[in-house]
Symmetry: D2
Amino acid sequence: MEHAGDERIPVAVLGATGSVGQRFVQLLATHPWFRVAELVASDRSAGKAYAEATDWRLDATMPDSAAQLAVKEYSGSLDSPVVFSALPGEVAEEIEQRMAREGRALFTNTSRHRMEPDVPLLIPEVNPDHVRVLDRQRQSRGWSGFIVANPNCSAIHLNLALKPLQQTFGLEAVFVATLQAVSGAGYPGVPSLDIIDNVVPFIPSEEEKMAEETLKLLGGYDGGFQDAEIAMSAHCNRVPVRDGHTECVSVRLARPADPDEVIDAFESFRGRPQELGLPSAPPQPVIVRHELNRPQPVLDRDAAAGMASVVGRVRPCPLLGTKFVVLGHNTIRGAAGASILNAELFRVEGLLPV
Amino acid sequence: MEHAGDERIPVAVLGATGSVGQRFVQLLATHPWFRVAELVASDRSAGKAYAEATDWRLDATMPDSAAQLAVKEYSGSLDSPVVFSALPGEVAEEIEQRMAREGRALFTNTSRHRMEPDVPLLIPEVNPDHVRVLDRQRQSRGWSGFIVANPNCSAIHLNLALKPLQQTFGLEAVFVATLQAVSGAGYPGVPSLDIIDNVVPFIPSEEEKMAEETLKLLGGYDGGFQDAEIAMSAHCNRVPVRDGHTECVSVRLARPADPDEVIDAFESFRGRPQELGLPSAPPQPVIVRHELNRPQPVLDRDAAAGMASVVGRVRPCPLLGTKFVVLGHNTIRGAAGASILNAELFRVEGLLPV
Amino acid sequence: MEHAGDERIPVAVLGATGSVGQRFVQLLATHPWFRVAELVASDRSAGKAYAEATDWRLDATMPDSAAQLAVKEYSGSLDSPVVFSALPGEVAEEIEQRMAREGRALFTNTSRHRMEPDVPLLIPEVNPDHVRVLDRQRQSRGWSGFIVANPNCSAIHLNLALKPLQQTFGLEAVFVATLQAVSGAGYPGVPSLDIIDNVVPFIPSEEEKMAEETLKLLGGYDGGFQDAEIAMSAHCNRVPVRDGHTECVSVRLARPADPDEVIDAFESFRGRPQELGLPSAPPQPVIVRHELNRPQPVLDRDAAAGMASVVGRVRPCPLLGTKFVVLGHNTIRGAAGASILNAELFRVEGLLPV
Amino acid sequence: MEHAGDERIPVAVLGATGSVGQRFVQLLATHPWFRVAELVASDRSAGKAYAEATDWRLDATMPDSAAQLAVKEYSGSLDSPVVFSALPGEVAEEIEQRMAREGRALFTNTSRHRMEPDVPLLIPEVNPDHVRVLDRQRQSRGWSGFIVANPNCSAIHLNLALKPLQQTFGLEAVFVATLQAVSGAGYPGVPSLDIIDNVVPFIPSEEEKMAEETLKLLGGYDGGFQDAEIAMSAHCNRVPVRDGHTECVSVRLARPADPDEVIDAFESFRGRPQELGLPSAPPQPVIVRHELNRPQPVLDRDAAAGMASVVGRVRPCPLLGTKFVVLGHNTIRGAAGASILNAELFRVEGLLPV
């Protein structure tokens, strides 16, 4: 793919053979600003062509431009100034920090650095001002590059729905019960014997992540992060769905609102990516479906190419005041697409080291 | 199969060819006190042998004793003094009331009469005292027989779990999000295109039923029903599971309790059916699983032959105080088995017209 | 959509609200030659806007151009010279024949007329010469228009794979066992209780259709259709897959061939649609996957926008000589897309009444 | 639960924590002749209580008698004279041979020794005379104990159906296409992303095993095994079903027979286990269902407690003469139950070292 005249920024993908890594490769294949130049994976894959090293599990075909790239090993040196990480948790710390130390812009989907006090946990529509922490990050770490994290797949769609409510009405309490797709656990991930004709009402650490990430995302930044003051409880479940997390949400708003006002807040919501016209930005971050039985994974997960959150069933909650359902694609807007949108914001803001 | 010396009480099943009707037939086949004498279904089936009229969908084999019974029509007269109803909603009113008028004991699984002010909505472990309303029913209606209803499949398992909490700690608020099996919608019920690789976050009238039935079930009876004073909100979802409803529950107790106390309340709970040793009574109405990832439909729906509710993941809820998961078989304890247990209670209490 | 300067041919879709009808609407929305001008459905839908009358079940969004069209009734008169039919079997005969009598080109996906001796059963890559029967059809029926049928969804993909073998090696015997998607049965179609955690080894009339249609498709036309002399046996199964029929095929070739020769015959196969560059024609009608475990529905059903057949596992068969697996999208190339490709061929050949 | 007066033969289960190992434990829990005395698994599990070491995946509850047994390691010494093996392939050879060398009766479900010329591959209804090879095995190997294998899960049900045809009509050719359950691949086995809304038309080595095992099973023994002279071809597929393999079969009989004769051959078939009344023997090894759409996994896999093969759709095959569908439980009769039935036969025949 590299060829004379391709002015796109070369990027590397860490953990490129895994399921989120594959999404990065697929979404970047036709990206107007970024070009996949380096694919990095574990020693077992290193040296092989990407097509050979990868058990491709997406319904879209593997891009030709990636298929013949030789997979690099984690310990080697990279040329790309921008790096996307889909590393397994256990190796993320050392490698991601090395990338930042070497001066690269590291956009990570892994959980390792999300809650660090000097790392922005970023959804461009929700908390774009959090990028201000990067000065502190560079200072305290002594890095020439940086690390930017995106949230957990369930937290992203929840917070895309919560943000317009917070900014319009104020937000005091959130109850959420999730029905999460198996692709959220990677590949091989969930064994089929655990999920055919079944539900698993437990996902390790997920309920904790959803709560703590939400408080950071909806909180302020004033030289340091200040958690939002929201009471929050999550129940997380795995269901026999390939892609698309469904979340049942009840909220207590500071200023009570009827369903029509809530719907209007969702539909009129726009953020920095929409103002800037970023290439991966959905025209409308939160789409509202008005049918009684929507959103549904098979019908709504690909809305706006998988980059929007789809809300439905907005109605009064006898307990907290308002309830609704939100659904989104967990490996596009919930993972790889989230990192890419973060990188797009950084490019436009002039924050990339290129 | 009726034969000389079979002293069991002859019973009729209304709506016998449908999926709950099949459960009645299966569960009654080996019952020590009741004998299936009459199977009643729509005109389309009337006159045929049950085996021929029925598209049998249970994994247990159709009982030989039922297979050759000729299906009767709704408009005909019946001999059985005890009748179980799994009628479709639209015809339930007229037929069920006729049965009671004719002096029969009618135990119904349909929703038509559940919320009537003179009909007991009965779970023998939860509100056995509600049978006292029958005097009023007979009086006001002028019937020689009576109608007793059992709750909706989701409400039964929720209330089996709530009752021990209410009586031990007091109960102020309930949040529940359900993941319900497709058998809850009968047969043909949910089209496969609606549910393979999918979730439907809506079940018509289900959230309303769960709320209103819970308030009646946990409320008192003092010449009239008094709704329990509990704030309640339900989110109901359909998932690709054959049998077994999973419910994520958060509760605010009047007296806060730690998880160990709550577990103890569940495990020590016993009701009238257990005291009386009713044949279909589970030894322990609420079973607690201590594994991190239980209960699960495939592993737990058949606990105590499908007659128990299985609880797990008892833990603190940041919002309401306590949260847990409850799961139960929706067509056994959640439907046909519930009616049968009601009839067993009535027999022991001497309330049957035989 | 209709607007000054839109020179595309107006077309009507019969049975537009059903699942194949929806595919027609979706595939035609961006068609370069045809424009959906009329949507026709049962009385229950007539008069409503298409968006309101339709329970849309495709993952692609309903096209705006169709959403606001008022649904017409079957008995009304139509303006479009070209008509696509996805009618239910019971009403197809009368309505389809009326269309042809009125001078329209009727391309049908229903089975009613497929085996008529004066109706071409057409796959443009397989038997384009069969259109010659239309002279006879017009003569014998006295119609100014005509009826052209496409085969059953399983037969189309089977025959796309068999044709290159027949023309390269000669074909004597075919054994096929299918694993068919639920969308093949329409909507509501297969009840979820019949297919979750299950397989149904029977599809009414399917085995007969596959056999008789194959003999017509691979047979000659010489003033009349001559069945191909092929011994054939089919086993048809329904599996819990949304879209994409998988077929295990063993064949006895007239001239035995090793797998490499067979693969070469598949890969080099091209037909009239490829020569003519028809808009819906896949560049290569039969794609061969070389991985050990392909084709698979989720990975391969959308190959060439759902218009190709995907073959894999070409290997020796101890019994018949050669075996392989073929997979294809059953509602795109297997239904709506097949009719559209037929209409495209007719336009280029100058056979449309416009 | 060893206790004074328990006269049952103590047995060991190798690979006890895996999914077939769990089936052994479940099926043996209430066995009249055998008592689970030792559970053996990999070092990772050794020393732990079985309940703690095992991720129990069966819908039946773990037997109390097994839950508290301490898991032993492979390298330790055993007391039990009878051993059931569900070992992973890679370690089976050394351990199983050691068991036989030490004088134990080793009944194995693993594939390692199945095709050895001195090991009986045994289905008691099909080839009970093959046990005669044990003299040769002891002689050539110098073992005081012995190894007896049971076939692959798909081959067992296929051969239970083929045997009555072979002995009644003679059997010349077999075509089979399977739809196999995920439990056949063990746990974790098939990843859910590979099988939700999908089919995988490939199972490593399965087609080869089905062919070679069938020829051995249906062949004679005359001092050495003689392969049956049957032309055979298999297509093997994985489908989203938990338990129960479905197989579409076409056969060429030496003496052509109409469906009624074939059905009669199936229904009248009895073998040594039925003559001897072995405790795990199904009353009728091959059950015929007469409904058009049977057998189906959810409805038929548990027939005769999972020990029978269920046949349906017996009809003419245009290619080979006769076709039908056979279905059976793959981890009961297809694995653990098969080994147990073999051991029961050995006990009655006086061949156990006890």
